[in-house]
């Protein structure tokens, strides 16, 4: 499981594996769109009909939603609510926590069903968990290596000032 306090780092290889996995889930669950979001509100990956959606806001609100329901869970003595489901007139959102830190968001309409989405998400969640574990191992190894691995080790004040010009 990812440590809640560590920075999340995403590498090309794992990104490709995650993208392939959510593409497959999109097809198998007949979903409209799928998002993977960090619990801190950062969007990790997205697939499907995402062009008309504000993906950054979606990520932030999903994380806020999970945080708020997590707070509710603790109040009644639960560790967390690992699955949330929001039903709309046309579109529905299925939200689940994977590997303790990332949030899998599936948006679907009448072409799919809650049962199918739940079934497919369950399997995808297990596969995703394995990729996340690899990612954590890789991050630990990289952190142990020299500071030369850190692309930001050499940041200068000029670099930062340039951002505000």
């Amino acid at each position: 499981m990812l440590e809640a306090s560590s920075s999340l780092v995403m590498y090309d290889e794992e990104y490709q594996r995650i993208s392939a996995l959510i593409d497959r889930l999109l097809r198998e669950a007949n979903a409209r769109a799928i998002f993977l979001v960090d619990k801190d509100g950062q969007l990790i990956a997205a697939t499907g009909e995402t062009e008309h959606l504000d993906t950054t806001s979606l990520a932030s609100l999903t994380a806020g939603n999970i945080a708020a329901t997590g707070g509710l869970a603790k109040l009644i003595g639960e560790k967390e609510f690992s699955i949330l489901f929001h039903e709309g007139e046309k579109d529905n959102i299925h939200i689940s926590i994977v590997g303790g830190r990332v949030i899998l968001v599936v948006i679907f309409d009448q072409r799919s069903s809650l049962g199918l989405v739940r079934l497919r998400v369950k399997r995808a969640g297990r596969d995703l968990d394995l990729i996340l574990e690899d990612l954590v191992r890789k991050t630990v190894v990289h952190n142990d290596q020299s500071a030369a691995m850190n692309p930001f080790a050499e940041i200068t004040d000029d670099d930062i000032d340039n951002l505000f010009k």
Partner: protein
């Protein structure tokens, strides 16, 4: 915590504006939103009550440009300042990379500032974070109002660690970008050691 994405060459950082109720946290974000080019900002989200008091949080995503070949993205959040929303404040601090404390310079809000600062320290501690170690800036807001405390007085009460401090009038925008720049600098500099 920051999110470094080597696949999309992005670095994402989370900055939280903290402070007592009505001190101007949302006003800070609104000014940044209004004065930023469309290409550099996303939609600003405000989860507020009908009377425009922040209920859960405000959120503003900003793309500042490139640094060392990575797109630097900042996610700015505010917390609800009212005392009874403490559970929400704790949630928003999760994964924070830097904090801006917006202090209300008015004499009658001095106690509220101190209480909010103590609350910030406690809530960070619950996340395993130490206010004395994270990137932190204090903004003395509402400097244009009559009868405000002197910066020296505020500083001696709120800033024993002598972190960077700025003076602002968020309603007119004075000092808003200056504050953002200072915290962004501290957060980016912090990346050198944490990764």
């Amino acid at each position: 915590m920051s999110f470094i994405n080597y696949a999309s060459r992005e670095i994402n950082c989370k900055i939280v504006y903290y402070g007592p109720g009505l001190c101007g946290k949302t006003t800070n974000l609104q000014f940044v939103y209004n004065k930023t080019a469309d290409s550099s900002k996303g939609k600003m989200i405000s989860l507020a009550t009908e009377t425009e008091r922040t209920l859960f949080f405000d959120f503003l995503p900003l793309a500042l440009g490139e640094i060392r070949g990575f797109k630097a993205r900042f996610h700015l959040y505010t917390v609800p300042g009212q005392v009874f929303y403490d559970a929400s404040r704790k949630l928003i601090l999760k994964g924070v990379d830097g904090v801006v404390f917006v202090a209300d310079s008015q004499q009658e809000r001095l106690d509220a500032n101190i209480e909010s600062m103590e609350n910030l320290r406690d809530n960070l501690e619950e996340q395993g974070l130490d206010l004395d170690r994270i990137p932190f800036v204090i903004q003395y807001n509402k400097r244009d109002l009559p009868g405000v405390c002197s910066v020296e007085e505020l500083s001696s009460l709120l800033n024993p660690r002598k972190v960077p401090e700025t003076e602002a009038c968020a309603a007119s925008g004075e000092g808003v970008f200056e504050t953002l720049k200072v915290i962004a600098k501290l957060v980016l500099n912090d990346l050198k050691k944490t990764n």
